[in-house]
């Protein structure tokens, strides 16, 4: 595989895995934030939004401190025999997950809050267990929120590069993703290559987004057959 395609592949892999991981861990957090009345709810909601506030490189720097050989997390991963996370693909995923958390949690929390309590009650009287209710009622009713969360997370992971650069170290074939590559091309005045990559990324993203929205619109308007 040529280095360019390797970069593209790495990027999609990172964005895909990050989005998946965030959907899995963001959904319960968002649900809890939307439904709970625990006193910790508001502080947790505020903490979830915090990664946004720091400049990515700075966040990356602190993650580096934390996950490096002398950081708390780093010490932990080392005693677990996992080595340290920075400069590995796993480290990239962890960093992206932290940085993109708000983009997943906030839209989900929003739509979860609008799901009519009555619908859950109805489902309960129709024998659906709490988990069943979540999958058969909440998720379908919250679909637009899931779409938004996934799009924001995926796109953000594609475009994000401050954290990735810091934690990943821009190692070709290992942690060098598209955004970093484009950044490099711009930095080294290789504008032609930068235009090509940036243009390709835009066109590709546009097509994917358009397809997603079209499918979503179709699902919303059409009569369901089951």
């Amino acid at each position: 595989m040529s280095p360019e395609w390797q970069t593209v592949w790495l990027t999609l892999k990172l964005a895909g895995i990050t989005t998946t991981v965030l959907m899995v861990i963001g959904t319960p957090i968002a649900w809890w934030l939307a439904r709970s009345s625990h006193w910790l709810k508001q502080p947790v909601a505020a903490i979830v939004a915090l990664p946004l506030v720091l400049p990515p490189t700075v966040l990356g720097f602190y993650l580096l401190l934390l996950m490096g050989p002398e950081g708390i997390v780093g010490t932990l991963t080392q005693t677990l025999g996992l080595g340290t996370l920075p400069f590995t693909f796993a480290g990239l995923v962890v960093a992206s997950v932290i940085y993109s958390l708000p983009f997943t949690v906030q839209p989900l929390q929003n739509v979860f809050a609008t799901v009519n309590e009555r619908m859950l009650e109805v489902a309960a009287t129709l024998r659906a267990s709490p988990l069943d209710r979540f999958f058969s009622v909440v998720i379908p009713l919250a679909r637009p929120g899931f779409l938004t969360a996934a799009v924001l997370t995926f796109a953000h992971t594609l475009g994000e590069f401050g954290v990735v650069l810091m934690i990943g170290g821009n190692i070709p074939g290992e942690t060098r993703v598209l955004s970093v590559a484009i950044y490099d091309h711009v930095e080294t005045l290789e504008y032609g290559k930068a235009h090509l990559l940036a243009g390709g990324m835009l066109v590709f993203s546009f097509i994917v987004l358009l397809a997603l929205y079209l499918i979503n619109g179709r699902l919303n308007n059409g009569n369901l057959k089951s």
């Binding site: 619908m119 109805v122 309960a124 009287t125 024998r127 057959k225």
Partner: protein
Amino acid sequence: MKVPGIHARLSTGFERFQLDVALELPGDGVTALFGHSGCGKTTLLRCIAGLQPCTGRLSVNGNVWQDDDTSLPVHKRPLAYVFQETSLFPHLSVNGNLNYGYRRTPMAQRRIHPSQVIDWLGLSHFMDRRPERLSGGERQRVAIARALLTSPRLLLMDEPLSALDQTSKREILPYLENLRDTLDIPIIYVSHSAAEVARLADYIVMMDQGRVVAEGGIQETLARPDQPFALEEGAAVIVPAVIRERDPQWHLCRAEFDGGSLWLRDDRQPEPGSRVRLQILARDVSIALAANHNQSIQNLLPARVMDMAAEQRPGMTTVRLQAGQTSFLSRITSRSAHQLGLGCGMDVCMQIKSVAIVE
């Protein structure tokens, strides 16, 4: 050992409202829940369903659903609930709504099947449609069907027929009666319609401001001339009877009860020998001193005045009459009672319009 019936001692409350009820309801048949707007009917149903947190004890036909330490979660209570405001899933078609509960009912427990209810409730035309595209009455019918398809062991219905016209009601009521008789499950039914209640109910609970103010079997309760029910226009007695003969030419049949016979329309063409319930509204019973056969009222029965009570609304008197072992109620003006010189123990002729008799 299983204790049949519904035993409930439940308390809950809101800022300005307190519900405290202790009920012993029969384990089968229809219990009608009555009372003014805001008296706590919906809250009581929600407590029974487990939707509203409450304290106390609840057992249904021997199964404890709630007591001091445990409370069965809603989805583990084998009940169905038709909500006061229809609450179909907006993301599912009618078909999807119907199947939602059906699919979650274990195969072995299914006693009602989609094709049946679709037919009963006339849903076949819009099985693929989303709820937002249905009329109010159509939505209500789908909600009833969806609830029935879980083959519940207790059915809670909060004004299920309020959005339906007379014809639809007339089509659906027999099925509810049928359900009551064949499924052998208790139904708790909130309704403001005296006609519906008198037709369906076996047991009546009257609530006011969060408490039960009266309860009892429909026969005893309705035959009390001082009954507190806000039925008035709907006051009636229920008389068990047996069909004895049919007159196909005039579409009539004769039902015999303990104390005489009554002619009624044979809409449903019951077999001679079959048992029926006759409902006789107090307003359809008038009193004559002697039988006069030259009139359109054909059911003329000798009876004895048992007691008389003035109604809440002035000017009216409810008279309890007895024919054989059966009680009847008659609502007449107090002036008539006076002019006829009615008094306890007097023998009179009871005039019952045959058209007023329903099963």
